[in-house]
Point group: C2
Chain length 190, copies 2
């Protein structure tokens, strides 16, 4: 996509968040989002199949970035370490989106259909990560287990970071993987 296409897409994302927050998700139309972003409705639909997808655009970018990072990790790196490295390589995406995360989450929490789509997107991310591990030779169901445990750590780190961003997301990732190790030990000392 040319630079101007990327730019329009970004403006559409921001305009959608603003309008959903101001007027509610159900009351906002694709036409209004396009107008606020300064593009035509046709441009809106060139980028997004519907207004719901505008909220999940980051997730598609993220899946691609993660799959690439998993593919590029040294071949001998074990699955969870591969995921740790891949997550650490995409923290910038989360950091850039940080200002939009809370309004976005508030909109999703208020709408069961959006919550359902979020759950489906999360499942799709798990599949993408598991498939990227399988392409490195990790067999199912081990690849699924690693993908799900890894995404659980990412969720842990994001939750902690949203609650207190005095530490960097990277640090919370380190802490999350250490926590997973602790939990998974046969004799968790705590």
């Amino acid at each position: 996509m040319p630079r101007s296409g990327e730019d329009a897409r970004k403006r559409l994302r921001h305009a959608a968040l603003e309008l959903f927050a101001e007027n509610g998700f159900d009351q906002t139309t694709a036409a209004q989002i396009a107008a606020r972003a300064g593009v035509t409705e046709r441009t809106f639909f060139r980028h997004f199949p519907d207004k719901r997808e505008v909220l999940f655009d980051g997730q598609n970018l993220l899946n691609t970035a993660l799959s690439d990072a998993i593919a590029k990790a040294p071949p001998e790196l074990p699955p969870i370490q591969t995921l740790h490295r891949a997550f650490a390589s995409v923290t910038e995406i989360f950091e850039k989106n940080r200002p939009f995360s809370e309004p976005r989450q508030r909109i999703i929490s208020g709408n069961p259909a959006l919550q359902e789509r979020e759950v489906a997107k999360h499942a799709a991310m798990g599949r993408a990560v598991a498939e990227a591990l399988q392409r490195r030779g990790v067999e199912r169901p081990r690849a699924d287990l690693a993908a799900q445990a890894g995404l659980a750590v990412l969720g842990y780190a994001l939750h902690a970071w949203f609650a207190d961003s005095s530490l960097r997301l990277d640090d919370y990732l380190d802490r999350g993987f250490a926590e997973l190790h602790n939990l998974a030990s046969p004799t968790d000392p705590r």
Copy 2:
């Protein structure tokens, strides 16, 4: 629910699976399921809000059984060991449902709306397990991490057991928790 109510519910589950397999999910009505089960349509709707839910009835039973088992584990048992014990205590539910698991999965795989509901049910199970851990004093986001890692192990074990039921589900659970420990180790030796 009285014994006869339980019995009708079970007959409805079986009748639904048969009819979905014979005629397809979309082509089957609640009235047909009721007729096959030998109950009135009114009885159907006393048990289930719609025909989709019939396929997920086991999941509700399972969530309750799991939450109970988590509550009853010795208070000093760490989260993952609590989940291991709780899962091991409900393997009977899976074993009883084994003959229906494959036809059920085939029906769900063929229908995007059912797949979406399955994903949503799985997310609900994660929340139920995390909440049961929180009631034991495990704080979020650690409870969420443990719940998700634990459910990933359950998924691993079920996948392996469906592929080869020469071992018991219990054995696959032991193997799955060992695999999680292996994966989560800072120096996975493989």
